[in-house]
């Protein structure tokens, strides 16, 4: 997905294939592309399509611990979906997942835009400094970052509590963040935003740099205010890349599992149970593999909608496949 490579020249690489040649050689040339993509296709079929189908099959079966050990699962039609959709818990989780996704994505894209605009205006040295910090945050492995945040917010000796107490919020003396639902949710949001802003900011910044400075120059000469230039120049230029970043972040945040699982396992009191965590819980602790499969299928369908929007935007922008 080279957003910034020049459009490829229109020429026909197949040209030589049509040159009169020895028939045998010609056939092998026609086969080449298929041989080259065969391993990829095989990999995707076995490791992606097959599990997806298996998941779909599971969601229509009665599949608990007994079936897991002995096999011989029965088909039960839409029972699993019915059980899931009529229970209140599932809808709580769906609503929570939507809140989780919205809060994170709004913060990520908002902050990333501000940082990108800032990068554009900074001097060279300052920009390199900030870019390096962003790159470092981006490269920190998810689990390392998660562990760091547990340490930052630790109730005893945690540096965040210390700063809050110093700022006059005495109630944070020894406050245990991970015992409270809202507090844990907040920390997870901060963690995910901290990890995700660098990618979004640098992507938006790269899009900004593709705009020639002359356009801004002439707009300024015509007497446009900063706000006006932002609204009439920057925003329209950024709109397509905005769409892409937005879709990507929605998908990534929606799917987010590791951070939540490691920090809270969905607790306390289910305050951080989003769809992927919920599915994992009902499979791991309740051994309801069938319900898990139904929940996963619904997740996949929800994501497919976003993915569709993303791909449309992507191909509109790239102009070709």
């Amino acid at each position: 997905m080279a957003l910034h490579t020049a459009p490829r020249k229109l020429r026909d690489p197949g040209q030589e294939l049509r040159r009169p040649a020895v028939p045998g050689r010609r056939r092998s040339l026609v086969l080449w592309p298929y041989l080259l993509i065969a391993p990829t296709v095989l990999g995707v079929v076995f490791l992606l399509v097959y599990p997806l189908l298996r998941n779909l099959q599971l969601s229509f079966q009665s599949f608990g611990l007994r079936e897991l050990i002995r096999g011989g699962a029965e088909f039960v039609g839409f029972d699993n979906y019915r059980e899931l959709l009529t229970g209140g818990e599932f809808w709580d989780v769906v609503v929570r997942t939507l809140i989780w996704t919205t809060v994170n994505v709004v913060l990520i894209v908002g902050i990333a835009t501000l940082v990108a605009l800032m990068l554009q205006r900074l001097g060279r040295a300052m920009r390199i400094l900030l870019m390096s910090a962003l790159a470092l945050a981006w490269a920190t492995p998810i689990l390392a970052a998660t562990t760091i945040f547990q340490w930052l917010f630790a109730s005893r000796l945690g540096v965040v509590n210390w700063v809050l107490v110093r700022l006059g919020f005495d109630s944070y003396e020894g406050y245990s963040w991970f015992a409270d639902g809202t507090a844990t949710f907040t920390i997870l949001v901060i963690l995910v935003v901290w990890q995700s802003v660098p990618f979004a900011a640098i992507t938006i910044y790269s899009a900004l740099t593709t705009v020639p400075a002359e356009i801004y120059e002439s707009a300024r000469l015509d007497g446009a205010s900063d706000w006006r230039m932002f609204r009439s120049l920057t925003v329209p230029i950024l709109r397509p890349i905005f769409g892409l970043v937005l879709c990507l972040e929605v998908i990534w945040v929606f799917k987010c599992f590791t951070q939540i699982w490691v920090i809270s396992e969905g607790g306390p009191n289910d305050a951080t149970t989003t769809l992927p965590v919920y599915a994992y819980q009902i499979a791991q602790t309740l051994h309801h593999y069938d319900l898990q499969a139904a929940s996963s299928t619904i997740t996949v369908l929800l994501l497919a909608v976003i993915l569709f929007v993303y791909l449309r935007q992507l191909f509109r922008q790239e102009g070709e496949l």
Partner: protein, 278 residues
């Protein structure tokens, strides 16, 4: 006017410094905690600039049960998966960027969809499939999975890099008597090398990061666990020894950070073309 500009410049730089501090602080705090003596870590007032440094926590982390094994497992699984993905992707990217064939568009679409696949939703079916094919508790299974996780965007980025190498170069070599394959190997491949490196960095980060499947698929054979899983259960290992925990996190982040520094210049371009999440 001039004064106003200076004020503006100043406040902008100030804001940039604030963003810089917030961005870098967690990483800095990890490293500084790892090197601080326990006395400083347990101080009531946090020591922000440690004056005494120690390697004691690193000794604890490395000496912990199985750390070396897990680190090696992680590295092995990641490297094999990334190399495998690079090889397979090179072929596919070449086919997509250089050859015309029926089904090309469909193939590209499949790759884009696979890149966004909701793996997290497929833990259980993958677990069941692994069990049924006797692949549970095997590093080979994880390697295969990480291979398919990294494959789609490896193809996409390599295709971008390939498209940037003019076909004319290859053709010139063919005119000079190279076969198509050797033209690719001698002319395009060297030009592609930086792209390969950048792409492998993204693959490395993805595989190195993976936790959910590692947690799920390696159950009984504890020796075959990998680092992320071990790190996540650090509290059982170290209690609240934050120095050792941060040292372990540092060691975990180290390969990625080193790769990153080495390949830094290439990274931002790949960033955009790869759409890769760390």
């Amino acid at each position: 006017m001039k004064a106003r500009n200076a004020v503006r410049r100043g406040s902008l730089n100030l804001a940039a410094l604030a963003v810089f501090a917030v961005t870098i602080f967690p990483v800095y705090w990890m490293a500084s905690t790892a090197f601080k003596p326990t006395r400083d870590i347990n101080a009531d007032t946090p020591v922000f600039v440690p004056t005494r440094l120690t390697l004691e926590h690193f000794r604890t982390a490395i000496g912990a049960d199985g750390f070396g094994t897990f680190w090696r497992n992680s590295l092995l699984v990641t490297v094999v998966a990334v190399v495998l993905a690079l090889l397979v992707a090179l072929g596919a990217a070449f086919a997509v960027a250089r050859l015309q064939f029926r089904g090309r568009r469909g193939f590209v679409l499949m790759v884009f969809i696979a890149q966004m696949a909701p793996w997290e939703a497929m833990l259980i079916p993958v677990y069941i499939i692994a069990r049924d094919t006797d692949m549970l508790d095997r590093l080979a299974m994880l390697t295969l999975l990480y291979f398919i996780f990294t494959l789609p965007f490896t193809i996409i980025t390599l295709r971008g890099f390939l498209a940037a190498v003019p076909v004319e170069l290859e053709e010139a070599a063919q005119v000079d008597g190279c076969t198509r394959l050797s033209a690719f190997r001698r002319v395009t491949f060297p030009l592609l090398a930086p792209g390969l490196l950048a792409t492998s960095l993204f693959g490395f980060i993805t595989a190195w990061n993976e936790f959910a499947f590692a947690n799920m698929l390696i159950v009984k054979n504890q020796d075959d666990r990998i680092l992320p899983v071990w790190l996540s259960s650090f509290s059982n290992t170290f209690g609240t020894d934050w120095g050792a925990t941060m040292a372990a996190s540092t060691l975990f982040a180290l390969p990625v950070l080193i790769l990153f520094l080495v390949l830094q210049r290439r990274v931002t371009t790949g960033f955009v073309s790869g759409s890769v999440k760390g």
